[in-house]
Symmetry: C2
DNA sequence: CCTACCGATCGGTAGG
DNA sequence: CCTACCGATCGGTAGG
C-alpha cells in the first residue's frame, strides 16, 4: 500500500457523490473507501467542498474536450451531431461518477464555483446549438428553435447515466446510432 | 395561525427535498419553513423517511393519473402521445416539488418503498411504450425500439423540471407542441 | 406543538 | 496519515 494522492481521493469522492449525493457522503465514508480516516483526507484537500469542485470541474473539462474533438473536422451537420452524441456517451460511460456528479450535484457548489461550472456547461451546450444552426442554414435541418431543441437532445443524452448498463445488451455504438436516428427522424414512419 | 396538518408538512417537505435534496434537508430546516420546531414534526409523522415516501408516492400517483387520462379516449397514437406529453408537463409544472423529488430523491427510499415506487414508475413508462407499439402497428410510426424510444421521450420530459420557467417566454401549450413535433419528426428538413 | 433533552454523527483542527 | 479531539448539528424521544 503506497500513499494516496489527491487524485485518488477525488476519484473516490466522485464515486461517493454519484451514488449517495454530496450531502449523503461523509468524510468518514470517503476515508473508509480509501482505507484511511476521514480526518486524514484534510492532509490532501482543504475541505469537502473542494472535492465537489474538483469532481465537477473534471467532468466539465471532459465534456468540453469531447465537443471540441467532435467539431474539429468540419463535415455535414448530421455527422457532427453524431460525433457530439457519441462523445457525450463516451464521457458518460467512461467517467460515469464524475459526469453524474456534474449533472446532479453542481447545484450544491458555492456561488462562485457554480457560476464557473455553469459557464463551462453553457459553452458545451452552445456547441450543440451551433451545430443545429449550421444544419438549418445548410437546409439539412428544419427551422427548429435551437435553444429548445438543444435542450431536448442534451436531455436524452444526460439521462443515459441514469439507465444505461455498459454490460447490457446495447453497446455504445448502437446506442449512438439509435439516438442519432431518433434526433434526426423522430418516430414517424417514412 | 391554525394548526398544521400532515399534508401541510408533506408539501413543505417536497419543496425542501426538491431544492436541497433529502440529505440536504434537516427536520429543523423543515420546521423553520412551517413556523414550528423540528421536533414538533414528530407529532405528525413517524420520521423523516415517511415524508420522502409521502412526497414521492404523491408524484407517482399524479403521473399515473395523467397517463390514464391521456389514454382513456382512444384516438390515433400521435394524438395520444401528445396528450401524454401535455399531461407530463402539467404534472411537472403544477406539482414541481413532488415531481422533482420523485425523479431525483427516490433512490434514497428504503428498499421496500423504493420497489413500490419503481413499480409505479414502470407502469407509467409502460403507457408510453404501449402507445409507441400501437403507432408501429397502425403504421404511423416506424419500427423503433419501444424500450429505448420510450426512455428518450421520457428523458426529454423529465428534464423539463430542470430548466423550464413557467413565467418565461414559452407557455406550456407551445412546449407540448414543440416536444411532440420533435419526437415525431426530429430535426430533419421536409 | 413546546420544553428539555439524548446519543450519534458531522466537518474540521492541532499536533505529531 | 494517525491520535485525540472540538463545537455544531443531526434525527429522534419523553413528558407535558
Amino acid at each position: 500500500m503506497s500513499r494516496l494522492t489527491r487524485d485518488d481521493i477525488v476519484i473516490a469522492a466522485g464515486r461517493r457523490f454519484a451514488e449517495y449525493g454530496y450531502h449523503g457522503t461523509s468524510m468518514r465514508d470517503l476515508g473508509g473507501d480509501l482505507g484511511i480516516l476521514g480526518s486524514s483526507i484534510y492532509a490532501h484537500v482543504g475541505g469537502k467542498h473542494d472535492l465537489l469542485v474538483a469532481v465537477v470541474e473534471r467532468a466539465g473539462s471532459l465534456f468540453n474536450a469531447s465537443a471540441e474533438a467532435a467539431t474539429r473536422e468540419g463535415s455535414d451537420p448530421s455527422d457532427t451531431l453524431h460525433r457530439l452524441i457519441r462523445g457525450h456517451i463516451d464521457v458518460l460511460i467512461d467517467h460515469a461518477p464524475e459526469a453524474r456528479t456534474f449533472l446532479n450535484e453542481a447545484t450544491f457548489l458555492e456561488p462562485e464555483d457554480r457560476r464557473r461550472v455553469t459557464g463551462q456547461r453553457d459553452r458545451y451546450e452552445a456547441t450543440f446549438r451551433r451545430t443545429l444552426e449550421s444544419g438549418i442554414v445548410s437546409g439539412d435541418f428544419r427551422h427548429v428553435d435551437v435553444t429548445l431543441t438543444g435542450i431536448y437532445i442534451l436531455s436524452v443524452l444526460n439521462a443515459i447515466g441514469r439507465w444505461y448498463d455498459p454490460d447490457g445488451p446495447v453497446d455504445r455504438d448502437a446506442l449512438a446510432v439509435d439516438i442519432h436516428e431518433f434526433v434526426l427522424r423522430g418516430v414517424t414512419a417514412h
